[in-house]
């Protein structure tokens, strides 16, 4: 069982959380071209290694936050609040 440190509630089991996709993806202006829209909607880093991603403590305080997790070891390297640049 993976354990994640919620910024509010501390270390909890993964089943209390929900994954919310890759972090730091900005929506382009609505008059952007098809390529920029495709990149925004579909193209992802999907690394075998450290991945910046959004999670929500859905069965807890309900807060959204970012974390960096290794996709092969599942080790959570860093947890940080929304709106902050990737450490």
């Amino acid at each position: 069982m993976m354990r994640i440190a919620c910024p509010n509630c501390g270390l909890r089991d993964e089943r209390e959380f929900a994954y919310g996709g890759e972090a730091h993806i900005d929506r382009p202006e609505l008059d952007c071209d098809d390529q920029a829209w495709e990149e925004y909607l579909f193209l992802r880093a999907n690394p075998k290694g450290e991945h910046a991603e959004r999670w929500v403590h859905v069965h807890g305080c309900g807060v959204w936050f970012n974390l960096i997790r290794h996709t092969e070891t599942h080790e959570v390297v860093a947890v940080y609040v929304m709106g902050v640049a990737r450490p």
């Binding site: 098809d34 193209l43 996709t71 092969e72």
Partner: protein
């Protein structure tokens, strides 16, 4: 390649079984090939087989960082079916199912296709309505499927939980009779043996570490753990690791990789003669010929390249199996494993040219790649040989993500794949 037959069995038995040929060679890499396929799973081996048999593009190699059939082809729940909603998917997957039906003869290797039928259960009036829509779509696509009422379901499969007050009561089911199971390892081994006999070099334990490209950007070959191997056409059939290989070639793919788990119980006497599943519960199972109950369910809920799986998902899937068949609660699991699957946004595959000239893609199968192996190999061989999509896969290109022309089976057929 010596042919397998009853006569060969008898002759080798009389000779003390010391005279069997190796099933495939273990050659050293040549300095270059005309076509290299990365990934010696079902799709890669089937592609090499079809290339060598029908297109003869010259020398062909299939290279893999591990052993052949050691990835998802050897890690799935062996189910084959074609219960899709859109015509593009139905045509393609049903072609694959038809190829499976005659594959033992084609490859002279018993893949143990068992058309035991697939029963998808409905647990509410609304699910019955939804299944009626899917069955109608399948019939319009020329694929036989049928709806069963509650009594028919319980008569056909009495091991199911028939309690009308169950948490998930049975209202009915849809069934595809031609669906069933195939021995997964035999598919990899059968294609490997047949491709090897046609001169394909299968290079195991050879990991691709990079691509070499010429000044115009076209591919010249691959760097591997055994040195550089030249090729002007390279096919990528690496399932969950598609984005890792694409990154080496310098482009991104519209995929995300997840762990998909499967489980098998201790063997018991025959109790389940069909495949049962439930979209609402999110679990399905069948009984293998050895007697084990083979269980599967949804993907782990976050990206992963760890081939072990989440304990939370394991509990959810197995709780679902016990809902479907309460007597299975006394079974003990023998094995659990996870494969890494690359999902697209619409749960449909990508069989297309890549942004790099000479590199071709057979990726994005999600959890549905095993059933597609024969047709996937045929279509990918066509794409590599002719540099244009096979007629059955024109809708499954990369451009659809830019155009928005998705084939969204996740939404339409109500299945993750």
């Amino acid at each position: 390649m010596s042919r397998y037959s009853a006569f060969a069995l008898l002759r080798n038995w009389l000779g003390g079984n010391t005279d069997w040929d190796p099933v495939w060679r273990s050659p050293e890499p040549a300095s270059s090939y005309d076509v290299i396929i990365i990934g010696a799973g079902g799709h890669g081996l089937a592609t090499a087989y079809h290339l060598a048999k029908h297109y003869r593009p010259g020398r062909i190699a299939v290279i893999d960082k591990g052993w052949l059939g050691g990835g998802n082809t050897g890690r799935n729940t062996t189910i084959v079916r074609s219960d899709y909603f859109y015509k593009e998917s139905a045509d393609f997957y049903d072609h694959s199912l038809r190829l499976y039906a005659s594959l033992s003869q084609e490859l002279n290797f018993n893949i143990m296709y068992s058309a035991r039928g697939i029963l998808n259960l409905a647990h509410s009036r609304h699910e019955v309505d939804f299944q009626r829509r899917i069955v109608n779509a399948m019939q319009l696509n020329g694929i036989h499927a049928e709806l069963l009422g509650r009594e028919e379901v319980l008569k056909f499969c009495p091991v199911l939980n028939g309690d009308p007050n169950a948490r998930f009561p049975i209202y009915g089911a849809m069934r595809q009779k031609r669906g069933g199971t195939v021995r997964h390892d035999a598919v990899a081994w059968g294609y490997a043996r047949a491709a090897d006999a046609l001169g394909v070099d299968i290079l195991q334990n050879t990991e691709v570490t990079g691509f070499r490209r010429d000044i115009s950007g076209g591919v010249q070959g691959v760097e591997t753990s055994k040195g550089f191997i030249g090729a002007t056409k390279v096919g990528i059939a690496t399932a969950g690791h598609s984005s890792v290989v694409a990154q080496m070639a310098g482009f991104r793919l519209p995929v995300a990789s997840y762990g998909l788990q499967a489980f098998v119980s201790e063997p018991v006497k025959p109790v389940l003669h069909t495949v049962i599943g439930s979209a609402v519960i999110g679990s399905y199972c069948s009984q293998s010929d050895k007697g084990g109950i083979v269980c599967g369910g949804g993907i782990d809920p976050y990206p992963s390249f760890a081939q072990r799986g989440s304990a939370a998902t394991m509990e959810k899937v197995l709780a679902g199996i016990v809902q479907l068949v309460p007597t299975f609660s006394s079974l003990r699991l023998l094995r659990q494993w996870a494969g890494i699957v690359d999902y697209t946004a619409d749960s449909s595959p990508i069989i297309d040219r890549s942004p790099v000239p000479g590199i071709y893609l057979n990726v994005g199968w999600g959890g549905g790649g095993f059933k597609a192996i024969p047709a996937g190999g045929e279509a990918f061989a066509h794409l590599i040989a002719k540099d244009e999509p096979h007629p059955l896969t024109t809708a499954f290109g990369l451009q659809r993500f830019r155009d928005g022309a998705l084939i969204d089976e996740a939404a339409a057929a109500g299945i993750e794949h």
